[in-house]
């Protein structure tokens, strides 16, 4: 099962390697990992997407909680939540492809944020499936580069992760 684990962690140097080291040392899988400081600059928020059985996910949460610098851990996917990922795609956009690319980007509510004579950079946000669907919808041979941030997420409504 796919799980989205959110972590509040002290914003100290080395904190990220403690988390990633834990995953590699114990053989847990990481699909994606994002991290940035929160509104309280002394804390970082990390979002990790991992795939594993319930037992493994339980161990992952326990092991994360054991890290001294980890303040809180929740499995976002346990309850209603929202997840988003940002993707930047650089595509070749010449001739008739130029118009078509813009049309597909519009359908996916993407934005063209850089334009040259022969290329576009398209910005898209959504869940992973939506970003995948966009890539499936365009002519793959036109894709020059894709960059994805990995998933970040937040609980719906009253579910709040705070120190």
């Amino acid at each position: 099962m796919r799980h989205i684990i959110s972590i509040l962690i002290e914003n100290e140097s080395g904190a990220l390697s403690r988390v990633s080291g834990l995953f590699s040392a114990r053989g847990y899988n990481i699909e994606s990992l994002t991290v940035a400081p929160t509104e309280d600059a002394s804390l970082s928020r990390m979002t990790i997407v991992s795939i594993g059985s319930d037992d493994i996910i339980e161990q992952i949460t326990k092991q994360l909680n054991k890290l001294i610098e980890v303040v809180k851990v929740v499995d976002l996917s346990e309850a209603p939540h929202i997840e988003r990922e940002l993707m930047l795609v650089k595509v070749r956009a010449t001739g008739k492809d130029r118009e078509e690319m813009k049309r597909v980007a519009d359908i996916f509510r993407g934005r063209i944020i850089d334009v040259t004579e022969s290329s576009y950079v398209i910005e898209l946000t959504g869940n992973g499936a939506k970003l995948d669907a966009f890539l499936d919808a365009i002519d793959r041979s036109l894709v020059l580069e894709t960059v994805r941030t990995g998933v970040c997420g937040v609980g719906r409504g009253d579910r709040i992760l705070k120190a």
Binding site: S13, S17, Q59, N65, K66, I68, E69
Partner: protein, 569 residues
């Protein structure tokens, strides 16, 4: 008053009432050693290899419940220390490891004796710190002591760049510390504790299984009270020996890969299991699927939530400090209207006594070759069962665990988790420093002892009257045993050729050496060592049966009740 970083380090250690720092100097810790030179509140013990500094500090802690402290220089000092740190980590031993680092401005430049200490040690410490500002130094050391000892204990490392040791700032040592990200649970959940007491009272085939957590949390008196109150059988892991008196009738001895027949059978067939400060590891329950074939209710008390339901699903998890939880359970048992199921218990004990009848630790001592088991039994007699026994890793370790009956905690000191050969001798040093009046014996093998043999020199310098019991079978015995049993007698590289003359070696270091070759000489030699040479280090090189094997044995991947017994072969 402004102090330098080096002075601050010393002051912090003094504030923590440290008695001994085990260490080895070098470039990056020179300023700290300079301050150390100027004080006499604590002593520095100069080992001969950094691995030994950590093992000694580790055993100092294991044998005393105090925190062990060691200090090494950057680069090779740290890499040498890593085996010791990993050893302590695997057995949850509270240590504070202070390491020198190259000056801040040199970090990342491949400077002389630079190593990424925080990176190298991250997976084998409870936590580590790189001090980047002298103003953080005192509070970081305070945190290190606090983290090492609280919750599930473990080694904590503080890496201090050389420039920090010369910079000055005001010194203030915090009395206490709190960290928003670290709040270990102490009290167990009262609802779960009630459930546990209920289950215990309903059990027909109960079993208590106690591990190193009992020793680490000083819970052996509580455990003994609970066990006696219930009248249940109890078994201990390799790390838990001494947590309940081995000579008591309720004790079934050690369980696991080399556990007794009765302990393993009772563990497998019980209907209610109380696991206390133990972690169901592979050497203890064998194949978890096989263990799971028998339905039983499991209660698990542990300070570390991640130890619970890691390898075996439990029914009643209780996260908390072991002695506190046991106290609560005892209160409930005392207040309960019902008593343990007497009829069920009686027939369970009858079954256990039948299993005991197998006498799975029996061996034959002839007149020719010395049996290693016999040596340990004699060691037990000669020391009145009262010695602190350290060991290395191999067959001798298992025989020491099986045949020396530990009645008290913190007497049996071994590397259970990492299984580090070379641990025994430096551990004996640390144990003797912590217990200056105690009899300390190191049960070792001719291979293991050579992994930290240089410490004979440290023992001379500090006049440590350790007795080294070298069960010399001429083989990497445990390796040979596996090769015999599972690799068609192909003894690949397990014969230890070109052994030194250990008697001369001991003498060269200024100690007493004795060579024992006949069964009849074992006891007299032990008496000579422990009585006549009470105040000296004696190296007893005891030539034992090279073919002796450790039994019972649960082969890797097998179930607990699928033991190979000595009589089977």
């Amino acid at each position: 008053m402004q102090l330098t970083g080096a002075e601050i380090v010393i002051r912090c250690l003094q504030e923590e009432k440290v008695e001994y720092v085990f260490g080895y100097p070098g470039g990056s810790v020179l300023f700290i050693y300079d301050e150390l030179f100027k004080q006499d509140q604590f002593k520095h013990i100069l080992v001969r290899h950094e691995q030994a500094a950590v093992h000694a500090a580790d055993a100092y802690s294991r044998s005393s419940q105090k925190i062990g402290v060691c200090m090494v220089t950057s680069g090779p000092g740290v890499t040498n220390a890593v085996t010791g740190i990993a050893t302590a980590y695997m057995d949850s031993i509270p240590l504070v490891v202070i390491t020198g680092q190259v000056p801040t401005a040199y970090i990342g430049q491949d400077a002389f004796q630079e190593a990424d200490t925080v990176g190298i040690t991250r997976p084998c410490v409870k936590h580590n710190f790189l001090v980047k500002d002298v103003k953080d130094l005192a509070v970081t050391i305070k945190k290190a002591f606090y983290l090492a000892k609280t919750g599930r204990p473990g080694p904590v490392l503080v890496d201090i760049p050389k420039d920090i040791t010369t910079q000055k700032c005001d010194f203030h040592y915090p009395k206490s510390i709190s960290m928003r990200s670290y709040n270990p649970v102490v009290k167990g959940h009262s609802g779960q504790i009630k459930k546990a007491a209920q289950l215990l009272l309903e059990a027909k085939r109960p079993m208590i299984y106690a591990g190193g957590g009992v020793i680490l949390s000083d819970a052996s008196d509580r455990l003994t009270r609970v066990t006696r109150k219930l009248g249940f059988p109890i078994t201990q892991t390799l790390m838990g020996l001494g947590g309940y008196p081995a000579t008591d009738g309720q004790s079934l001895g050690m369980l696991g890969m080399h556990g007794t027949y009765e302990a393993n059978m009772a563990m497998q067939h019980c209907d209610v299991l109380l696991a206390v400060g133990a972690r169901f590891d592979d050497r203890v329950i064998g194949n978890p699927a096989h263990f799971g074939q028998v339905a039983r209710k499991i209660i698990h008390i542990d300070i570390d939530p991640s130890s619970i339901s890691k390898r075996v699903k439990v029914d009643v998890p209780i996260v908390g400090n072991v002695p506190d939880v046991l106290d609560e359970i005892l209160k409930l048992l005392e207040a309960a209207d019902s008593k343990p199921d007497a009829k069920g218990l009686a027939s369970w004990w009858k079954q256990i006594d039948e299993w005991r009848g197998k006498k799975s630790l029996q061996y034959k001592q002839g007149s020719d070759l010395i049996m290693p088991q016999y040596v340990v039994e004699k060691l037990y007699e000669v020391t009145g069962g009262d010695a602190i026994v350290t060991s290395d890793v191999g067959q001798h370790q298992m025989w020491a665990a099986q045949y020396y009956k530990f009645d008290k905690p913190r007497r049996w000191i071994n590397s259970g988790g990492l299984g580090t050969m070379g641990f025994g001798l430096p551990a004996a040093m640390g144990a003797r420093f912590a217990n200056p009046k105690a009899t300390v014996a190191c049960v070792t093998g001719e291979a293991s002892i050579q992994m930290c043999i240089q410490e004979l020199s440290t023992c001379k310098q500090y006049r440590l009257p350790i007795k080294i019991i070298n069960l010399n079978n001429g083989y990497l015995g445990m390796v040979r045993q596996w090769q015999q049993m599972f690799h068609g007698n192909r003894y690949s590289e397990s014969y230890v050729d070109a052994l030194p003359d250990f008697v001369k070696l001991a003498e060269a270091y200024g100690h007493v050496g004795l060579k024992i070759e006949k069964p009849a000489d074992v006891e007299p030699a032990l008496r000579e060592a422990f009585v006549k040479h009470k105040n000296e280090l004696v190296f007893l090189d005891i030539l034992t049966d090279p073919t002796a094997n450790v039994f019972p044995m649960v082969a890797g991947g097998k179930g607990l009740s699928e033991m190979i017994l000595a009589e089977d072969l």
